[in-house]
Point group: C2
Chain length 100, copies 2
Amino acid sequence: MKTTGEILRENREKKRLLLRQVSAQLDIDTAILSKIERGERKATREQINKLADILEINKESLIVHYLSEKILCELKDEDFGIQALKVAEETIKYGATKNQ
Amino acid sequence: MKTTGEILRENREKKRLLLRQVSAQLDIDTAILSKIERGERKATREQINKLADILEINKESLIVHYLSEKILCELKDEDFGIQALKVAEETIKYGATKNQ
DNA sequence: TATTTACTTGACAGTATTTGTCAAATGTAA
DNA sequence: TTACATTTGACAAATACTGTCAAGTAAATA
């Protein structure tokens, strides 16, 4: 599966936009956006929203991509990651949010 | 479903241990353990390991509980949380780890 | 070849969040 | 009352996050 960064870069290039142009709209330095696209940094949740608008990417698909990448990163060294995901999924479905 | 904190407290009381005794083994103040049990703070990953040992709780079940709670907390305000979980699950199953 | 332009890299700074201590407050039982 | 367990909240230290900046690379072009 493509990384979020890859999707962002592909879509930016498809629109013929420069890092400079997009990062200006995000109000950050080009350096950060460059790193985000190459996977060296993570975008913030807010930046993802803006990027979907700027690059005209379907919001749901971008967000789902971003979130699942974040979750996978958190579980990458865990032996019981899949089990945890399943429990989390069941809990959401069941409706019991019960968060802090 | 029970919270991680509830499980920890139940098991500590089952073993007739005081906060003081357990927190000493964790090398933290009782205040923190108290907060962890009441869900006011999260345990660290390392503390969860130690707690499973100290309280003789099945490691897999405690870890799964802890991780899924963490994930749910992260997704609590997300509209597409379930979708993200499913994608994450598929990605893990598929074997493509591809993390940063 | 020298300039220009886009992007990349790494050192660094400011801020936010996490993780903890401590002391005082509360609750409870002897 | 005293003693002990737990809770609470103010605070401090450590860590992680988010960004800037300036110098570097690479490719196109005057």
